[in-house]
Amino acid sequence: MAQDSEYDDVRRQIDDNLKRVYQEKVEEELPERFRNLLQQLKAKEPKSGDQQ
């Protein structure tokens, strides 16, 4: 029993840290190049459906 709760505790500690490291990266400002890229991809396409 003691071992199980110790295991759970360690596992929780690891998952908390994983979330913390991951979340920190999610919250980083997104480089402008990605929005620009999406705009370029969109601009390159033949227009369809939006001119009725």
């Binding site: 979330k19 991951y22 979340q23 999406l38």
Partner: protein, 185 residues
């Protein structure tokens, strides 16, 4: 009536996609290139995406497939690792058991790609084991075992594995510092 382009939703998932790329790549320049390739692929083969299913999972799948096909090509290239990820383990958990972020990242970076991937998918980004297995094209049991092996290895690297190691903090800290001093000298 303007039909909304479903591809406009891609942008919402980019911060998570980039975080996943950074966890896989260990190097932010490579991670950003990977995100860029993923965006282009997702855009050009968006007709393959099944509307109503999880767009984030679909994007993550493209990213990891791109990563693994690139990794095969890059096998012989010299790794260029950012300082933050290659930082040496030098400190013990503080009194709250919160690990120094750098130490955690340094330990995490030592895991094999497949274990890091499984841990990020199910441990950090909230996908279920089933979703992660789908994304990685493997069995649920494989994802579970990768995640568990990853956790076990982190436990070992961070010396979280027993009460004794917590009590012997000073001694094990000295051992880690001594090991670092040796490798630095």
């Amino acid at each position: 009536m303007t039909a909304r382009d479903p591809r406009d939703d891609i942008v919402e998932h980019l911060p998570a996609l980039r975080a996943f790329a950074m966890s896989l790549c260990r190097n932010s320049a490579q991670a950003d290139d990977l995100v860029q390739d993923t965006i282009v692929k997702a855009w050009t083969k968006f007709d393959k995406f099944q509307q109503g299913t999880n767009l984030r999972a679909w994007l993550f799948t493209i990213l990891r497939n791109t990563f693994y096909s690139g990794r095969r090509k890059a096998q012989r290239e010299v790794a260029d690792v950012d300082g933050v990820f290659s930082a040496k383990l030098a400190s013990k958990p503080d009194h709250d058991g919160r690990l120094a972020m750098k130490d955690f990242e340094a330990a995490f970076a030592q895991l094999p790609d497949e274990q890091r991937e499984a841990l990020i998918l199910v441990g950090a980004s909230g996908f279920s084991y089933e979703e992660a297995a789908d994304m990685c094209g493997c069995a649920v049991g494989t994802i579970k075992s990768r995640a568990n092996r990853g956790r076990a290895r982190l436990t070992e690297l961070l010396e979280l594995d027993s009460n004794e190691s917590m009590e012997l903090t000073d001694q094990s800290t000295m051992a880690v510092l001594a090991a670092n001093a040796r490798s630095a000298g």
